[in-house]
C-alpha cells in the first residue's frame, strides 16, 4: 500500500474520461473509484448516471467532468435509461442508422440509487438481459443529501437517520447483499471491487463491459465526510475493509464464485472501525457481534468459491 502512489499512476491508463476539476470533497473515495473505472472503458462508451454525489459534483452547468457521452435523468432510473440506450444502439445499428462502432453502455449509481430506490429498474434491466454494465459506487449511506442510512449502511454505523443514542446503537440492520441479488438474476458477470485495489477494479470494469449481457460490479467507496474519517485515510480504509474481511473481493462468473484475494488471516475488525467516527459509539459487545458476523460471511463466500 505504501507504493500505491508510485505504481498506480505509472501502470494505469493515462486517459481520463472523468476529468479532474470536479467538485468532490477532499479525500473522496467514490470520485477516485469513478476515475479508475472510467480508465478501463473501451473507446466508445456511453454512461447513464443516477442522481447522487457523482452526478452533482460532475455536471453543474455550464461545466462537465465527462469526456464521454453522459446522461442523467433521475435517482432511480439509471438502469432503465441504460436499457433504452442499449436498445436504441442495437436497433439503429441493425437498421443502418448509425455505424457499427461497438459502442458500450455503462450505468452507474450510488448505494441508495442501486439497492433502494433503483433496485426495481436494475432488476428489470438485468432480467431482460440488456448488454450493459451496472456500477454501484457504494459509500454506505445517502451522502449527497447529508449522510442518511440506506439498506447498504453497515450494522452499527451512525448516520443522520440512524443516529446512535441511549436507545439506539445506530443502524440496526445488516448490509443488503447486492452482489448476491445481482447474481440471483443469473447474469454472466458479478464482482466486488475497491478503489484500494485499482488494477483489480479496472480489470473487473473492463471484464464487465466486455462480457455479453448484463454485468454488475459493486465498488466500496470510502466517504470521509460520511464515515467521519480523515480524508488522507481513504485509500488505507478501503484496503482495511478488504483485509479485515468486511468487504471481500470476489467475482461470480456464470454463477461460479471466485475469491480474488484470499486472506489466510483476517485483520481484527477494530483496525477498520477505530478510524471511523461513525462506529465510535459501539460497545465491546456490539463490536464482537459484528466481528463474528464478518468472519461467518467471509467463510461463507470462501466456501462458495471452493
Amino acid at each position: 500500500m505504501q507504493n500505491y502512489t508510485v505504481y498506480v499512476p505509472r501502470l494505469a491508463p493515462k486517459k481520463e474520461p472523468f476529468a479532474p476539476g470536479h467538485r468532490a470533497c477532499v479525500g473522496c473515495g467514490e470520485a477516485l473509484a469513478v476515475r479508475l473505472a472510467c480508465k478501463a472503458f473501451p473507446p466508445n462508451t456511453i454512461v447513464a448516471s443516477a442522481t447522487g454525489c457523482m452526478e452533482v459534483i460532475s455536471s453543474q452547468y455550464p461545466m462537465t467532468a465527462w469526456r464521454v457521452p453522459w446522461i442523467h435523468a433521475l435517482f432511480e432510473n439509471a438502469a432503465a435509461v441504460a436499457s433504452g440506450v442499449e436498445s436504441a444502439l442495437k436497433a439503429m445499428t441493425r437498421k443502418g442508422l448509425r455505424p457499427a462502432d461497438g459502442t458500450k453502455v455503462v450505468a452507474m449509481g450510488g448505494d441508495g440509487g442501486t439497492s433502494d430506490i433503483g433496485l426495481q429498474a436494475l432488476s428489470g434491466a438485468m432480467e431482460r438481459g440488456h448488454d450493459f454494465l451496472y456500477m454501484c459506487f457504494d459509500n454506505e449511506a445517502y451522502m449527497n443529501t447529508g449522510i442518511q442510512r440506506s439498506s447498504a449502511t453497515p450494522f452499527g454505523a451512525a448516520t443522520t437517520t440512524s443516529p446512535a443514542g441511549s436507545h439506539s446503537i445506530g443502524q440496526r440492520t445488516w448490509k443488503k447483499n447486492m452482489a448476491a441479488i445481482a447474481a440471483a438474476h443469473d447474469i454472466p458477470y458479478v464482482a466486488t471491487a475497491s478503489h484500494g485495489y485499482p488494477h483489480d477494479l479496472m480489470a473487473k470494469i473492463a471484464k464487465g463491459i466486455a462480457v455479453p449481457g448484463p454485468a454488475y460490479v459493486h465498488i466500496l467507496s470510502v466517504c470521509p465526510t460520511g464515515w467521519r474519517s480523515a480524508p488522507d485515510l481513504s485509500v488505507r480504509l478501503s484496503r482495511l475493509a478488504v483485509e479485515t474481511g468486511v468487504f471481500p473481493l470476489y467475482e461470480i462468473e456464470n454463477g461460479k464464485y471466485k475469491m480474488n484475494l484470499e486472506l489466510k488471516k483476517l485483520r481484527p475488525l477494530q483496525d477498520y472501525l477505530r478510524l471511523q467516527g461513525r462506529f465510535r459509539h459501539l460497545s465491546e459487545g456490539t463490536i464482537m457481534e459484528i466481528q463474528e458476523r464478518v468472519i461467518k460471511e467471509y467463510e461463507r463466500i470462501k466456501e462458495k468459491a471452493r
Binding site: S59, Q60, T64, P69, N77, G84, S87, L97, A121
Partner: protein, 391 residues
C-alpha cells in the same frame, strides 16, 4: 390510398405507430391501453416492424427507457393510461425538458381510489404542465392520423419535444370503427426519417441532464415555455401537410354549427361525437346552439379559442375531471382564463360529467346546455355543477 377497414382503435393506433417505423418501443401493460402494445409486440414478433421491443417492469421504466433511446436518436414510441401515466409522471418533465421527441398514446383513464379502469380525464389533467405537446382526439381515425402527425411534429428540428396523443379509454380504445389505415408508402413519404441533432454519440460526447443551479434554472424554464408556445405554427403546418396528403384536416379548435350560435357547448375527446347529435337536436328545437371541441391542449390555442367563441352569449364547458377543492372543472377554468381579458366575452358555465367511464347520452348534453342557460340567466350557480351524479 389506404383502405377503410373495421378495426379496433387500439389496433389501428398500433398499426399507425408500426407504419412510422419506430426503432424502440417500451411497453408495460395497463388497461385500457394494453391492446396497443400487444399489437405492436405481435408486429415486432412477425417481423412487420423492425424495432427493439422492451417489455419493461413498470411505466416509470417505460418512459425512462424511451428517454434513453430517444437520446441516442432512436424513433421511440410507448403507450400508457391512468395510474401508469401517474407512475411515469416525474420522467415526463425530464423528457420534455431535455427536448427528446418521444411519442406516446394515452388511453385516458380515471385515477384510483376506488380503482376504476374506465375512461375520464383525471390522468390527462394531472400531466397538463409536463411540457409535452398534447393532442386530444375524438375517434379512431383521428387517433391514427395524429399518431403519424405526432412523429413529424416531435422530431421536427424546430420542435424537438415529446408528443402525447390522448384518447378516451374504452370509449375509443375498445371500439371497432371504420378506419382508413394509410399505405406504407404514403406514410414513408409523410413521416421523414428521424435525425436527432445532438444524440449521445462517442464521436461527439455531450453531457445531458446536468445540474441547473439558480443562476440558470429560470432561464431554462422560460425558454421551455416560450419554445412550447412557438411550436403551434409548426403543428399547424404538419396538420396542413397531412390534409394535403390524406384529405383530412385538423384544427386546434374544431367548430360544429357555430355560425350565429348564441350558446356553445365545449369539451375534449370522445364526448364531442355524442354532443354533435345533441346540438342537432337543440337546433331542431329552435335553440341556437353550436359545439366547440378542443383538439390541441398544449400549447393551448388562445387565439383560435377566442375567435371560435365569436359572438356567443354563453359557453357551457364539460369537464371529465375534478380539481378537488378548487375551481371544479380544470378544463373549464383554463377556458375561462383564456377568455377573461376579452372586451366582449361570453358567460361561462362549467359541468363535471362522465367520471370513471359513466356514460353521457345525447340527452345529457342537451340537458347541460339548457341548465347552463338557466344558471347563466339567474346568475351565479355552484362552483361544482355536475351532470348525472346522484345526490
Amino acid at each position: 390510398m389506404g383502405e377503410k377497414v373495421g378495426i379496433e382503435a387500439s389496433i389501428a393506433i398500433a398499426e399507425a405507430a408500426g407504419l412510422a417505423n419506430p426503432d424502440v418501443i417500451a411497453a408495460y401493460p395497463i388497461t385500457p391501453q394494453t391492446h396497443i402494445v400487444e399489437h405492436l409486440a405481435e408486429m415486432v414478433a412477425n417481423g412487420e416492424v423492425d424495432a427493439e421491443y422492451i417489455p419493461v417492469e413498470s411505466e416509470h421504466s417505460a418512459m425512462s427507457a424511451c428517454l434513453g433511446a430517444s437520446a441516442v436518436g432512436a424513433r421511440t414510441f410507448t403507450a400508457t393510461a391512468g395510474q401508469g401515466l401517474e407512475l411515469m409522471h416525474e420522467v415526463l418533465y425530464i423528457v420534455s425538458s431535455m427536448q427528446l421527441p418521444v411519442v406516446m398514446a394515452v388511453a385516458n383513464r380515471a385515477l384510483s381510489a376506488p380503482i376504476n379502469v374506465w375512461g375520464d380525464h383525471s390522468d390527462l389533467m394531472a400531466v397538463r404542465d409536463t411540457g409535452w405537446i398534447q393532442i386530444v382526439v375524438e375517434n379512431g381515425q383521428e387517433a391514427v392520423d395524429n399518431v403519424l402527425c405526432a412523429f413529424c411534429i416531435a422530431e421536427d428540428h424546430r420542435v424537438l419535444l415529446p408528443v402525447m396523443i390522448h384518447l378516451d379509454g374504452f370509449h375509443m380504445t375498445h371500439v371497432i370503427e371504420p378506419i382508413i389505415i394509410p399505405d406504407r408508402e404514403e406514410v414513408q413519404k409523410f413521416v421523414p426519417p428521424n435525425n436527432y441533432p445532438l444524440p449521445l454519440d462517442p464521436g461527439r460526447p455531450v453531457t445531458m441532464g446536468g445540474v441547473g443551479p439558480p443562476t440558470i434554472y429560470p432561464e431554462v424554464k422560460k425558454y421551455q415555455d416560450v419554445h412550447l408556445r412557438s411550436t403551434k405554427g409548426v403543428i399547424l403546418e404538419h396538420w396542413d401537410r397531412f390534409a394535403r396528403a390524406f384529405g383530412r384536416q385538423y384544427n386546434p379548435v374544431e367548430c360544429y354549427r357555430t355560425e350565429d350560435a348564441k350558446v356553445l357547448i365545449m369539451m375534449m375527446g370522445s364526448m364531442g361525437e355524442t354532443a354533435m347529435n345533441a346540438v342537432d337536436n337543440l337546433r331542431n328545437e329552435g335553440i341556437s346552439a353550436g359545439l366547440l371541441k378542443l383538439r390541441l391542449w398544449r400549447p393551448f390555442p388562445f387565439e383560435e379559442l377566442q375567435e371560435a367563441v365569436g359572438g356567443a352569449d354563453l359557453l357551457v364547458v364539460v369537464d371529465r375531471a375534478i380539481s378537488f377543492g378548487g375551481p371544479a372543472g380544470p378544463f373549464c377554468s383554463e377556458v375561462k382564463s383564456a377568455l377573461y381579458n376579452l372586451e366582449k366575452r361570453p358567460k361561462v358555465t362549467g359541468f363535471v360529467a362522465g367520471l370513471g367511464g359513466r356514460d353521457i347520452p345525447v340527452v345529457g348534453f342537451e340537458t347541460m346546455v339548457c341548465q347552463g342557460m338557466e344558471i347563466a340567466e339567474k346568475g351565479g350557480g355552484e362552483i361544482l355543477e355536475t351532470y348525472g351524479v346522484r345526490e
